[in-house]
């Protein structure tokens, strides 16, 4: 027991810590020791560390108040290295491990000597709620400076500045019953459901399962509760239909019983997840649970009393005092005053005294307390002062005494003389608030219950609260309530249950007297003049602040909360919200239920971003889709462009003579020339491909495309344009007639999935009578486009298809073999040159691709990427949907009247919209070509077009550049653009005023810059 000397508040025995092992940790630069089983908070208390933080607004000294998720003060910065920093860790929920490093989040140069405390002390009278709304307004220009300093003083911990070394993951779980909370209610519910054969998940946020059983004074079957707890956990572990998740917080309850659980897998082991058996393990894991039914056995949080200076270190919750003593063997002080409104809190004084320390008095607000615990306390010789309360704590960095006086709870006045009791610890209890957060996450509003002086959850189908979560507190009743909740839940799912009371452990009956409703304790001075009475410790919200807010007309509880910032901290008002509502109710002269209710949104406790993200980060953030030639492109040093999820070669920079890589412009110019003068090849496998079969396939195409399909013969290909029913262009591509009832549609790369869905939509919802089926074959066929004047020559010896220009015309397709592989070859062209699009099964893509290059050596076959493809197609005036269109462009705007079947019998998709008043309007923006007057100029894509560059700002804009490139063929820049009434303005000049002050001038021309007669693709 050598550690006890170093841990002045550690008891020689008792609690569930392992005193045989010492763990060393550092807090604010000082080294301490604790034991396995400790939390950081219990270890700090064991070491007599009173001051753990400075408060947010007033920089007041703060100590540990609670022992669990409700802790508002002991919020620390954790982490021994920069990359493993974790901001805002609650010391009460952080298991101690060897080497833990933590520090206070506020306080400079340190938490003891904090400079800001002077600002807080001197400034606090000038910082009423919302003071920042009333000042910092003059001069207006200074706000950004004021804000800089405001921001510096705000915030708690700090973000790491280096990437997280750890990984996180998810588990998708399904169960019949999810039980949240493994205290007495949760355990009995889980056991009941497990016996019925249901799939059960039982989770609990603490390091150890057991909830209140871990520190109760009561016995089960006449033995310490731990015996029953261990037996029950062992029994549950035996069931293969039960999953036990300790250290796992249910933090969000979503629709239809979808619950998210955050399992802290390694946070009790170290800063960073240690590896196991040579592999990394996730630091924490998020379980996404779909449950049939949910039992919420989440217990209750104790409410502190609101009295003057109730924030000085040494003010604790009564229940926390018991927890520290009984569970961790730590007494957090020497001499205790307990201020309570109920029987249950008496156990803190009993535990304290049994730990061998002094109890100055129990101060009970009730005039005649009468329960068994009261009797025990009196029998133990503890002084009980009735009808009174601690009205004020004294002390600077630790409580030194308590001012106690008789009070009239209803009249809210101090009625008796003040007695000062020397003490270093004040424990308080104002009753218990059921933990109803999860029950209200999906919108259900809790209701106030006068019986238990707290909010209880309303009924939501499939969700049952059990035990303290709905205000049932006596242990025997809690156990029975859990059994009933578990049985009802699984019965509702069709399981047979047998509830046998004999299964329940025996609990010694205990009489508890009624509690009184006390929230804010009156002071001799009025609230606005009394020393600060804190309601929300983390956000420094006082009873006076709430009173001021109501004075200023903030009457809705939502207004009060927002104006004072009550409940907006990381504890989300677990301690303070009910007290705050009570203070507001008092100020407004109404009851708590009249004042409002309190709803909760996820999360119950904060959740690491990384855990929410799971494995969906870094290399797995989003799929990368590859064509079968990806390895080849990578080996060639291609630069890639993201097109949807695809990686497409953008251009292929080659090494220049000096060994340097070509610039993009150089590479693109070379690739363009190769296609226009020799032969190039493009991996076009990403194009969407849809196989369409059925006797009505042709009719369907006619309805979905703007143009005509009735006469397209097998062996022929046609370009098609697709609109929405609003008349706006949504996709384009070629469709080939494979046989009379069989077509192969191509779509743009990005629209493959949307177009297939579009076809299914119309077929399934409007035209189910058409006999046609659609199947995606995008991934099945690899597509390589061989294009350029030499394309035919290159292919001639590689295929059994007759490539003669008469036998195999432009817009024909043929079947045959290429490099020994069965292939469909399409004579279509997106470059304006002679082109063959070869489709082979993707398995053979690399075989054919490499064969083409083998043969292509003789022709300097040049691979080209999407950038060159864009230049070449733009030279021909071919549009890219999504670049030259933006959802507000009709086929007519594009000048594609030739692709509109105005006289088709069926009113095809998009037709009617073309005759709306706005689509008939003259002066619509229409697609044209632009030739800059200065050929060396490449206009900026997105440049705005004006007719009068001298017009004042705002300058009327008449269109913009959609595509713009340098053409090595034209030896000039050129562009596609939309211009108001552009089709009627051929030859006119327009201007493009740029950000750098230059104004480019360009001529409106046709969209076909190269080979406007289209002869080259027919050769």
């Amino acid at each position: 027991m050598s550690q006890t000397a170093a841990q002045p508040n550690r008891l020689a025995q008792g609690g569930q810590v392992d005193r045989t092992q010492a763990l060393t940790f550092t807090f604010n630069g000082h080294s301490y020791t604790g034991h396995p089983g400790d939390t950081l908070a219990s270890a700090l208390l064991a070491n007599g560390v009173d001051l753990v933080n400075r408060s947010f607004k007033y920089s007041r000294p703060r100590g540990i108040v609670a022992a669990g998720a409700e802790e508002p003060n002991a919020v620390v910065q954790l982490g021994a290295t920069e990359a493993t920093q974790v901001p805002n860790v609650r010391a009460t929920q952080q298991a101690l491990y060897d080497g833990l490093v933590a520090s206070s989040t506020n306080g400079w140069p340190d938490v003891q000597r904090d400079i800001m405390r002077w600002v807080g002390k001197l400034g606090s009278p000038f910082m009423p709620p919302g003071f920042y709304y009333k000042t910092f307004m003059a001069p207006a220009s200074m706000w950004m400076t004021y804000e800089k300093y405001i921001r510096k003083t705000a915030g708690l911990g700090r973000s790491p500045t280096q990437p997280d070394p750890d990984i996180y993951d998810h588990m998708h779980r399904h169960c019949d019953l999810l039980v949240v909370g493994a205290g007495p209610a949760g355990l009995s519910a889980a056991l009941t459901a497990a016996r019925a054969g249901a799939r059960v998940i039982l989770c609990d946020e603490q390091e150890t399962m057991g909830g209140s059983l871990l520190d109760t004074r009561e016995t089960l079957d006449d033995r310490p509760a731990a015996h029953w707890l261990q037996a029950t956990l062992a029994a549950l572990a035996e069931y293969d239909n039960v999953t036990l998740l300790p250290r796992t917080t249910a933090h969000g309850y979503h629709d239809h019983h979808f619950v998210t659980l955050h399992e802290r897998r390694t946070e009790h082991l170290g800063d960073s997840a240690p590896s196991r058996a040579g592999h990394r393990q996730s630091r924490s894991r998020l379980h996404r649970v779909r449950a049939g039914q949910v039992v919420l056995a989440t217990g209750a949080h104790e409410r502190p009393l609101v009295y003057a200076n109730n924030d000085v270190p040494g003010n604790l919750l009564a229940g926390a005092v018991s927890t520290y003593i009984r569970r961790y063997g730590v007494v957090p002080g020497r001499k205790l005053v307990l201020s309570t409104s109920n029987d249950h809190a008496y156990r803190a004084a009993l535990d304290w005294q049994e730990a061998g320390r002094e109890v100055a008095a129990i101060v009970d607000a009730r005039t005649a307390p009468e329960g068994d615990l009261v009797a025990q306390a009196k029998a133990a010789g503890i002084r009980v002062i009735t009808g009174s309360a601690v009205i004020e704590a004294k002390g600077a960095q630790r409580v030194s005494s308590a001012r106690v006086a008789a009070i009239d709870v209803d009249a809210f006045t101090v009625t008796g003389k003040v007695e000062t009791l020397e003490c270093d610890t004040i424990a308080s209890s104002g009753g218990y608030s059921p933990v109803i957060h999860l029950a209200s996450h999906t919108g259900a509003r809790p209701v106030w219950s006068d019986d238990i002086i707290g909010f209880v959850p309303t009924t939501v189908a499939g969700v049952t609260a059990a035990g303290g979560a709905h205000g049932v507190y006596p242990l025997g009743e809690v156990l029975a309530d859990g059994v009933e909740a578990g049985a009802n839940a699984v019965t509702a799912l069709g399981f047979a249950t047998t509830v046998n009371d004999a299964d329940l452990p025996r609990v010694a009956p205990r009489h508890e007297g009624p509690a009184c409703a006390l929230f804010q304790v009156p002071h001799e001075k009025a609230t606005l003049r009394a020393p600060k009475q804190f309601v929300d410790l983390q956000n420094d919200v006082t009873a006076a602040a709430i009173e001021v807010a109501t004075l200023e007309g903030f009457e809705s509880i939502e207004h009060v909360k927002r104006y004072t910032a009550m409940g907006f901290g990381t504890d989300q008002g677990k301690l303070g919200n009910i007290n705050g509502m009570a203070v507001a109710a008092r100020c407004l002269g109404q009851s708590i239920p009249e004042t409002g209710t309190t709803v909760f949104r996820p999360n119950y406790t904060p959740v690491t971003f990384g855990a929410v993200v799971g494995r969906h980060c870094r290399e797995l953030f989003d799929p990368e889709r590859y064509t079968p030639m990806q390895a080849w492109h990578v080996a060639q040093g291609a630069e890639f462009e993201d097109v949807g999820q695809w990686k497409r070669p953008w251009y292929y920079p080659r090494k220049r003579a000096g060994g340097e890589l070509e610039t993009m412009a150089e590479a693109v110019a070379r690739e363009c020339r190769a296609v226009r003068e020799g032969v190039g090849i493009l991996d076009a496998s990403t194009l969407g491909k849809i196989d369409i079969q059925g006797p009505d396939a042709r009719e369907f195409l006619g309805r979905i495309y703007t143009n005509k399909w009735q006469k397209l013969a097998p062996g022929r290909v046609r370009y098609g344009l697709m609109c929405g029913d609003d008349g706006m262009v949504m996709d384009d591509g070629t469709t080939s007639c494979l046989a009379e009832n069989h077509f192969l549609m191509t779509t743009t790369t990005g629209n493959a999935a949307p177009v297939l869905e579009w076809l299914e939509l119309w077929h399934q919802t409007e035209w189910p009578e058409l006999d046609v089926y659609f199947t995606s074959v995008t991934d099945h066929w690899a597509t390589m486009t061989v294009t350029g004047p030499e394309a035919r020559k290159l292919l001639t010896d590689m295929t059994d298809i007759d490539l003669d220009r008469e036998a195999f015309k432009f817009m024909d397709w043929r079947e045959g073999h290429v490099a020994g592989v069965p292939a469909r070859v399409f004579r279509i062209s997106f470059t304006g040159e002679l082109a063959f699009e070869i489709n082979v099964q993707a398995h053979y893509a690399m075989h054919v691709w490499e064969a083409l290059f083998e043969r292509g050596k003789h022709f300097d076959l040049t691979p080209y990427g999407t950038e060159t493809m864009h230049v070449l197609r733009a030279e021909k005036g071919f549009i890219i949907v999504g670049q030259d269109t933006d959802g507000s462009v009709t086929p007519e705007d594009l000048g594609m009247h030739w692709a509109i079947g105005y006289d088709k019998p069926f009113p095809w998709i998009g037709k009617r919209a073309l005759t709306r008043s706005d689509t008939r309007r003259e002066n619509r923006k229409q697609l044209v070509g632009l030739r800059p007057k200065d050929p060396s100029v490449v206009l900026e894509e997105g440049a705005q077009i004006v007719f009068d560059p001298n017009h004042a700002i705002p300058m009327p804009m008449v269109g913009h550049v959609t595509s713009s490139y340098y053409s090595p063929t034209l030896e000039s820049g050129f562009a596609l653009a939309v211009v108001k009434g552009g089709h009627q303005r051929m030859g006119e000049s327009v201007y493009l005023p740029m950000a750098d002050g230059r104004i480019h001038e360009a001529d409106i021309v046709g969209t076909q810059f190269v080979d406007p007669q289209g002869e080259r693709q027919h050769v």
């Binding site: 629709d255 779909r290 919108g443 309303t458 029913d725 299914e760 939509l761 919802t765 009113p907």
Partner: protein
């Protein structure tokens, strides 16, 4: 996150497999050329947006790829039925009335709810509008 019964897969699946596709039972006019600009605009853009029972179309996108219909409450998010394309809903206005009563009793948030009886025009039309889909 919703748990949705797919009437084609005949089991409940997670919402992530589905895409909502807006109001159900929107029929494309038989003769678009005969539609006024107003009628065509109504067909394209005007949708029921009830606070209560809503008939909507969903797609089992990562699953059987079938479109189908859901009757869902837009406040409680309770799914009251799912049914195949071409079928008609069985749940409608009477549920709306019942749910509104629940809402007034404070089970849902306090945003205003159309109440019948008090106004010259309004709530009854709104209630009707919310089930109009059934006729389309």
């Amino acid at each position: 996150m919703f748990h949705i019964y797919c009437p084609y897969c005949e089991e409940h699946r997670e919402e992530e497999e589905f895409h909502p596709k807006g109001q159900a039972h929107i029929a494309r006019p038989e003769d678009p050329d005969a539609c006024s600009d107003e009628a065509w605009g109504d067909y394209l853009f005007f949708r029921d947006n009830p606070r209560g029972i809503h008939h909507e179309m969903w797609l089992h996108a990562v699953g059987c790829r079938k479109f189908f219909n859901i009757t869902r409450h837009t406040v409680s998010y309770e799914i009251l039925e799912t049914y195949k394309m071409g079928e008609q809903p069985t749940v409608g206005a009477e549920h709306l009335a019942r749910e509104e009563k629940t809402a007034r009793e404070g089970k849902t948030d306090s945003v205003q709810v159309a109440e019948g009886g008090q106004q010259a025009v309004g709530a009854s039309d709104a209630a009707l509008a919310s089930v109009k889909g059934a006729q389309a």
